[in-house]
């Protein structure tokens, strides 16, 4: 009654295994695919990226980043570099590249055969000693047959993962640059609001003194006090905004502990004296956009999947089952065991499902991917044009504020002083014009910020990693009010 089972067709997987090809090093390398990511991103943004895999590497990186930021006033470039070296989310997406590299490796290997053993007759006393032992080694023939396609698919996915990593690197770089611009701009806003607040404080003090001498009633005083208090509130809000904006930058740079002890400049850099025309930005973007490459790879992957489906439309779930069937019979006390090799071919008969639905699905998936790519290409072109338009227009706007609006406000302020000198207008009106000039300076500063953001977006529009949105947000404005002297 001994059970014997010997795989007779064990040779099959061996034969199949012989088909296995060499697995390229790029999939098996500890930093699989990273080099590609690194070289693509540094070409786009001119910054170093690293993949830290060991504790020692991490320590070295931390030290490097610490040296860059600790108690330093950091530039946008430093911020971006620090983020690329230190952002853990980025490390995670680099790891994803390695994971999908490993997947290719995985797909390059054959599936291990499946052994199945079945024992029949247990728990059926009427059968007596009858036992049937079924032992098979099932090897999915399809696995072998489709290995090439699967490998290609995995490799496409690997490439996609790489491109995703590149995209995320660019996105991080762009986000960090924008966060730096926003943080600096927020501090610049604070400085203008502080000055405006000083003007309001002066008005408030003047009102209080006029109240003491009996020259200004309570309502007039309260108007100045209220305005001063409102500006103090605005200033506090601006300070909070600045803190939060800096914190966003800190997050992107992956800083914590003592490393958060860094500074950003108080004001954004001045506008450049001139702008170069970005030549053929649409073509450049089409050639360089990483998300476009990702979509192309997606299409290729779909194409490969389509081919796969085409081959397997009739033999899906096909499994070749090989093994023995050993049958033991108790025949009047005499037990005989009959062991037969067994080969089973199991497949679905395409009566109900002839694969057309799957074909349709595959075709539509392909069409879907193709349309996604086409849409992406249209969007990339539009984003490129938008970015370029925003870049030049925001430059003109910022210059307009700097060269026209602020000087005009300056003229108004100078004339306000002259009118004040002539006792034609009062101190409160003078202070009001001082504040309005600060308000214009603040608008000019917001316009300058929008320009620098637009400039960052140009890079994102060419290489990817941007939100696709052009222009900046609304900045703060200095509240109007006061003027108790009336």
């Amino acid at each position: 009654m001994s059970v014997r089972k010997w795989p007779a067709l064990i040779v099959t997987p061996l034969i199949l295994a012989a088909c296995a090809t060499e697995i390229p090093g790029k999939y098996t390398d500890p930093k699989a695919g990273f080099l590609e990511v690194s070289s693509q991103t540094s070409a786009a943004i001119g910054k170093r990226t690293v993949l830290a895999q060991t504790q020692a590497e991490n320590v070295a990186l931390n030290k490097q980043v610490h040296g860059m930021v600790y108690r330093k006033t950091i530039s946008a470039d430093t911020a971006v570099q620090a983020a690329l070296l230190n952002n853990k989310g980025l490390q995670a997406s680099y790891a994803a590249v390695g994971i999908s590299g490993a997947e290719v490796w995985q797909q390059s290997l054959l599936k291990n055969p499946v052994v199945s053993i079945g024992l029949f007759g247990i728990g059926a006393p009427e059968l007596g000693v009858y036992r049937a032992l079924e032992s098979t080694i099932a090897f999915n023939l399809l696995d072998a047959a489709t290995r090439k396609q699967r490998k290609a698919l995995a490799s496409a996915q690997f490439q996609q993962a790489q491109m995703n990593a590149v995209n995320e690197t660019l996105m991080l770089a762009n986000q960090t640059r924008q966060a730096w611009i926003n943080a600096v701009s927020a501090f610049e806003t604070v400085s203008y609001l502080r000055q405006a607040s000083d003007a309001a404080a002066a008005g408030s003090e003047l009102a209080a003194k006029l109240g003491q001498t009996g020259a200004l009633n309570k309502a007039g005083q309260a108007r100045e006090f209220a305005f001063n208090a409102e500006l103090a509130g605005q200033l506090a809000k601006a300070r909070l905004n600045a803190t939060l904006a800096k914190e966003e930058l800190t997050r992107l740079m992956g800083l914590w502990g003592t490393d958060v002890n860094y500074f950003v400049p108080d004001a954004l850099p001045a506008l450049p004296t001139s702008l170069r025309r970005v030549s053929s930005i649409e073509a450049t973007a089409l050639a360089n956009r990483v998300d476009l490459k990702v979509a192309k790879i997606g299409l290729e992957a779909q194409a490969k999947a389509f081919g796969l489906t085409d081959q397997t439309r009739l033999v899906t779930d096909l499994e070749l089952i090989a093994g023995f069937e050993s049958e033991r019979e108790n025949d009047g006390g005499d037990t005989t065991t009959d062991t037969r090799p067994q080969l089973e071919l199991e497949f679905a008969i395409p009566i109900f499902d002839n694969g057309e639905a799957r074909m349709k699905k595959a075709e539509l998936s392909y069409m879907q991917a193709a349309n996604v790519l086409a849409e992406r290409a249209v969007n990339v072109r539009s984003e490129a044009r938008s970015a370029e338009a925003a870049y030049h227009a925001s430059y003109q706007i910022a210059r307009h504020y700097r060269d026209v609006v602020v000087p005009l406000r300056g003229t108004i302020e100078e004339e306000a002083l002259l009118s004040y000198n002539g006792m034609i207008t009062n101190t409160f009106e003078l202070l009001l014009d001082v504040r309005q000039k600060l308000g214009s300076s603040l608008e000019a500063s917001n316009a300058k910020r929008d320009f620098w953001l637009a400039q960052a977006n140009v890079k994102a529009a060419i290489y990817g990693g941007g939100s696709g949105a052009a222009g900046g947000g609304e900045g703060m404005a200095i509240a109007a009010g006061g003027g108790a002297g009336h």
């Binding site: 000055q195 000083d198 003007a199 404080a201 002066a202 003090e205 003047l206 003194k209 006029l210 003491q212 001498t213 020259a215 200004l216 302020e413 004339e415 002083l417 002259l418 009118s419 004040y420 000198n421 002539g422 006792m423 034609i424 207008t425 009062n426 101190t427 409160f428 009106e429 003078l430 202070l431 001082v434 600060l438 108790a484 002297g485 009336h486």
Partner: protein, 452 residues
Amino acid sequence: MMNRRQLLGAGAAAGALVSSQAWSQTSNRGLPEAAVMDTAATQSPTRPSTGVDYNPVVTLNGWTLPYRMNNGVKEFHLVAEPVERELADGMIAYLWGYNGQSTGPTIEAVEGDRVRFYVTNKLPEHTSIHWHGLILPSGMDGVGGLSHPGIPPGKTFIYEFDLTKSGTFMYHPHADEMVQMAMGMMGMFVVHPKDPEFMRVDRDFLIMLNAFDIDPGTYVPRIMTMTDFNLWTWNSRIFPDIDPLVVNQGDKVRVRVGNLTMTNHPIHMHGYDFKVTCTDGGWVPEAAQWPEVTVDIPIGGMRAYEFVADNLGDWAIHCHKSHHTMNAMGHDIPTFIGVDKRQLTKQIRKLQPEYMPMGTAGMADMGVMEMELPDNTIPMMTGWGPHGPIEMGGMFSVVKVREGIGADDYSDPGWYVNPPGEQAYEWTGELPEFATNTSPKTLITPKQTSKG
């Protein structure tokens, strides 16, 4: 040398107030020459060369329009046109006026004269002239639409009438009157008595009170202003650039004051009491005259007062509404008296480094400080006298009574030098010798005069 009209024609007065282009195309043959004046200085009185003799008037910072005789009729030519008037040194106003100036030239004639006025309109809109206070035919009264159609731009109208009474009168438009008067169109009209000895004086001054609202830094009056004028002027001139009333000691002096502003002006003269002798209604009978030191000039009225210039010195003459002796000023200025601004000044200077605190001790520092002002503006209170800031502007001048001033001499004799004992001085604990006397009679030291 170009006169002001040529300047206006050539440069269109720096883009100022359009003048009618049409007149240059009409023939002006047969018209009396339209004399022009291009300065705001007081012109010497014009002695009559023909007809009845009279003692001519002196228009402060103004002049008298020449005439020609035409078959016994005195012919004048008035040209209504855009002008640039120097309200003060450093302040030009773009106005409408007559013959190159605002206010327009004074018209002088004699009771019984027949006068003919050629009035040429070089303004961009129609105009007319009303002869304020004169008795004349209804159709010559110059009320546009009522007396006659308005004089269209580019056209010349004739007014002709007899001067049936002597006295002090005015002329001004009665067509779009609000605008044209706010733009400075007005002048004085003096009719001398037929008898040169009737109401004869040695010096006869003319002052037309008018007012403008010209924002600091601008040149054109705001014509819609009703009460809040910022420049109170005599003959479209403001102190310190109103000429003095120069008088020889012992002269009988008449001052004729007309008011074409929208408020009354109490004109107050120091050093004398005087009697009102004439209104735009005519001469005041002697029995009805009473002594005054201030005469209120009603809106749209004229008053002439007379005095004998016995008291030597520099005597202020001004409107007693104190805002009217100020130039452009803000009315929304809080009173800063007693407000300690030292700390505040530091705060404000952080934002506006040139800020100067003012008003803590009053506004007199305005008269002392020479601070930069907007263009085309002069300080609120100004004018320097021999002893410091006079702190006056607007409707203010000085009556300068001196010995030995020639009959036709109206040139500024300079500041009066007060003799010792006749000028206020600081008490230092003891009275000086000249102040110590035992007699109740004031010791008068020999009088001094100074010229220049």
